[in-house]
């Protein structure tokens, strides 16, 4: 365990757990529940200060360099997995992270196999699961679900994606990948695709304001950033530059973060095809760009990144997905 610079909260323990060392998780929240009944939670990327980000990323780098050093660091801890929506990367990487820290997980399983089908509220479900675990990861289709959960439990809640809201742990691994590949100095990031409903975009754009990145948002008019995100970026002093054509900015970018345009958001299939086709990248498009351009994607992709990009030096999305384990190990190590 590293020693961390902290704003020391009042000493508290719950079932023997020390309070989180990420003190700012409870004080930087805006528009999200700061905390429930005494625990620290990670509900939104807006909670994370520059110091918090650096703390998690530094710890992740230490763990990635020597995972054996933490192999039994949390042998007495159980992480509850409450996934009300499908997940591959988030769920499996949290599962792997907890187990690689020596702990274990208890999994709610599919919604169909739980009391949710009997009409149980989310508030009741998380209260029950909190009795079985030392922290909860929650994914739920409704925006604000993680905030609600945090108000009903005494263990840390980690938002694993709430509808079209936030996905802060994805952001941490995104930032880790960005720091590894491009650094934070004079960083220029292009974020392309579904900016309206993409929760990874909402979280990442907030966090990038902490590293003073220049951000370009590329999307069809109908999928622009939502008002609430633009409001926060403005409040944070970020300059929002919006485009409808990636060619306008491609050559200026250090990072191109591509997201999936979600077919289900379009009432008209033809309109979807037209839009999706315009926000697709392939090796040809990247032919003339700087070799250092890093192409990222939170995955899953459908066809917005052609397979021929995988063979280029730009493709970083599988490395990005792998980074989910050390980053989530670091987060759990710091929060538990």
């Amino acid at each position: 365990m590293s020693s961390l610079p902290l704003v020391a909260p009042p000493a508290r323990s719950f079932r023997g757990l020390p309070r989180s060392r990420l003190a700012s998780l409870t004080v930087h929240a805006f528009g999200a529940a700061p905390c429930g009944r005494g625990s620290d939670h990670l509900l939104s990327a807006k909670q994370l200060s520059r110091g918090d980000l650096e703390t998690v990323l530094d710890r992740a780098a230490e763990i990635a360099a020597d995972p054996g050093a933490v192999a039994d660091a949390h042998g007495d801890r159980l992480l509850g997995l409450c996934f009300f929506e499908p997940s591959t990367r988030t769920k499996m990487s949290f599962d792997a992270a907890m187990k690689r820290l020596g702990g274990d997980t208890v999994d709610m399983g599919s919604v169909e196999s739980t009391s949710v089908t009997k009409g149980e509220s989310l508030a009741d479900t998380v209260r029950v699961v909190a009795g079985y675990a030392d922290a909860l990861v929650l994914r739920h289709p409704s925006e604000g679900s993680a905030t609600l959960a945090s108000e009903f439990v005494d263990v840390p809640v980690l938002n694993g994606g709430d509808g079209a809201g936030q996905h802060p742990t994805q952001t941490l691994l995104d930032l880790y990948t960005i720091r590894e590949n491009a650094g934070f100095q004079d960083l220029t990031v292009g974020i392309m695709g579904d900016l309206k409903y993409g929760r990874t975009v909402h979280s990442l754009s907030h966090a990038l304001t902490n590293v003073d990145a220049t951000q370009h948002f590329v999307s069809p008019e109908s999928l622009r950033l939502p008002r609430s995100v633009r409001f926060d970026l403005h409040e944070a002093g970020a300059q929002v530059r919006e485009h409808t054509d990636v060619d306008e900015v491609l050559e200026t970018l250090d990072i191109l973060y591509v997201t999936r345009i979600q077919r289900e958001r379009f009432p008209d299939e033809n309109e979807y095809r037209k839009v999706a086709g315009e926000y697709r990248i392939d090796a040809g498009l990247l032919d003339g760009v700087d070799d250092d351009l890093t192409v990222m994607h939170p995955l899953p992709r459908v066809d917005e990144i052609a397979p021929d990009v995988d063979e280029t030096t730009h493709a970083t999305y599988f490395e990005q997905a792998r980074n989910g384990v050390p980053v989530r190990m670091a987060l759990l190590d710091l929060m538990l």
Binding site: P141, S142, E143, D162, G163, S228
Partner: protein, 153 residues
């Protein structure tokens, strides 16, 4: 009654909410949860001529003194409203509404995918911004037509 001043008679004890933006009186009552079912006598004037506002609404609630906390939420739809606490037919206290920091259980979130729209044991909760309000749960910002989102009956 021929004198416009006497359209609504004086009350002995209670609260007069004056200078409400024209047409918002019923929303004011909705926010305050006053629907007459509690037996409280309520007088309402809508689009009453006013030098200051052109046309204003006025609400008189008899036998009930509304607290500052209760009325501050009115600032979202009636920022110019004044509150007069009446005792023995005289104005005992007079003050303006001020913007609260947050509003709980008064507005419903317009985002159909917000957790507050589901059957959960929570009230809606909005932070009050310089302009508009913001859902604590899903971050949705309401700036226009806030009265359209009043959730109380």
């Amino acid at each position: 009654m021929t004198d416009p001043e006497l359209r609504v008679s004086k009350i002995e004890d209670g609260t007069v909410i004056d200078h409400i933006s024209g047409g918002q009186a019923l929303n004011v009552l909705a926010i305050l949860g006053i629907d007459g079912s509690g037996g409280v006598a309520v007088s309402v004037g809508i689009n009453v001529p006013s030098d200051r506002l052109g046309g204003k609404d006025i609400v008189k609630v008899e036998g009930r003194e509304l607290s500052q906390n209760e009325v501050d939420v009115l600032s979202l739809i009636a920022p110019a409203a004044t509150i007069n606490i009446i005792r023995d037919f005289e104005v005992a206290e007079k003050h303006r509404v001020s913007r609260p920091g947050e509003v709980t259980g008064v507005l419903s979130c317009p985002n159909a995918n917000c957790i507050t729209t589901e059957a959960e044991p929570i009230d809606s909760h909005f932070e009050v911004l310089g302009e508009g309000v913001r859902c604590r749960y899903c971050d949705t910002i309401i700036r226009e037509s806030i009265a359209d989102h009043i959730s109380v009956a």
